[in-house]
């Protein structure tokens, strides 16, 4: 199940774990990424709070946690090569995986069609 937030993140849920990343639109807006900082495995994320940072040459942008839960895995390859987040943000450039406090938390988010129509 693929869902999108109005902050331009995507979540792919399998069971009670969701993979989180930034959308292609967000990556295009940010431009060339040169640094990313991810939460630590085991960290508790609270919906709406800064979870990760993605930095382009010009600016640092917070990526907010779209849901609450515990980080189970982070994409170390993306940390080593931040450009992968820019070139394949909805694939190899995923950011982290989170065990959802409430697996139904994704129900209120946009599906692909709704996000495509969402004004950007």
């Amino acid at each position: 199940m693929l869902r999108f937030t109005d902050e331009h993140e995507w979540l792919a849920r399998e069971g009670d774990v969701a993979t989180v990343g930034i959308t292609t639109h967000a990556a295009e807006q940010l431009g060339d990424l040169v640094f990313i900082e991810l939460p630590k495995v085991g960290a508790r994320l609270v919906k709406g709070e800064a979870a990760a940072v993605v930095e382009s040459v010009k600016a640092a942008s917070d990526v907010y946690a779209p849901v609450s839960g515990e980080v189970t895995e982070v994409n170390d390859a993306a940390v080593a090569d931040p450009s992968s987040v820019g070139s394949d943000p909805q694939g190899a450039g995923w950011l982290y995986r989170i065990r959802l406090d409430d697996p139904s938390a994704l129900d209120g988010l946009m599906d692909e069609a709704a996000y495509a129509a969402f004004p950007k």
């Binding site: 640094f35 900082e37 040459v57 010009k58």
Partner: protein, 377 residues
Amino acid sequence: MPFDALRTPLHALHLRLGARMVPFAGYAMPVQYPDGLLKEHLHTRARAGLFDVSHMGQIQLVPRSGSLADVARALETLLPIDVLGLQPGRQRYGLLLDESGGIRDDLMAAQCGDSLLLVVNAANKAADEAYLRAHLTGICEIAMLPRALLALQGPGAEGALARLAPEVAAMRFMDVRAVRLADTSALVTRSGYTGEDGFEISVPEDGAEALAEALLADPAVQPIGLGARDSLRLEAGLCLHGADIDPGTDPVEAGLGWAIPAVRRRGGAREGGFPGAARILAALADGPARKRVGLRTEGAAPVRAGALLFAEAAAGEVIGHVTSGGFGPSLQAPVAMGYLPVALTTPGTRVFAEVRGRRLPMVVNGLPFVPAGFKRA
């Protein structure tokens, strides 16, 4: 984009080239083209980049008396440089200072024979024009010229511009020359804001697009946005007014004392006589309390403008702050500039920058970060 954003004469060209436009100093400006900032930056260092800097102010000063020396003398009361000694066809960098010696703006002053042309920052141009009018109206006519300004920068700039006007190849760094380019009358200076050799080209608005197209027809020349303009100037250790220099900084601590020549310093023939002179001449003689430095990080995280600097990894007082910071594409590493107490400005000195609640080690680095490619001979 705000509906009331001003447009440069190259607006339609930017859109055709696929630029992402952003508001900057009241103008809609291209921040990057489809190639992206990293490629644009590296292309400029390797070949040649074309920048639209038409948002900058081009202020012409024409003497009422017919004698340019009258304008030069009057301008020296505002600007601590040698305007009287500026020869026709040459330009100098200068600083407009306020009464406490703070930097109102930085500019280029070109001697065009019968007039002076000042090129000032976009964000300050209205204030600069008003300030000049308040002080110089009796001496000269002051006009904000409705002209475009293009910058062609990089090791391939000379070759690309010389294809349109061979005589520019003979220009030296900071030379000024009137040249016919792409069927329009241009005023060309050999200068720029990237640390590379290059030219800034002032043309009438209706000739700007044809000139830009003629330059872009050269495969060595790519359009470059404001994003790369900023990373290029930061690697070159060049100040951005409003960030690295402002009314709260003076030329000496900013490391711009070189722009104040001996003739305006203590013991010089035209010593002082500019706003803030007492403080600035004392600072030149005694040395500043703090200085602008280059800073590199030990880790991969960029340190941005506004980050506070500390001497220690924990606790301790704030000792300075970062004024510009980002990623240097040519260095493939973060770079920054900021102010530190003079005792901590020796290259190699370790300090700490606070980023997202943590202190990251940084090392003082000489400026520029990349060697300048100016045409000195």
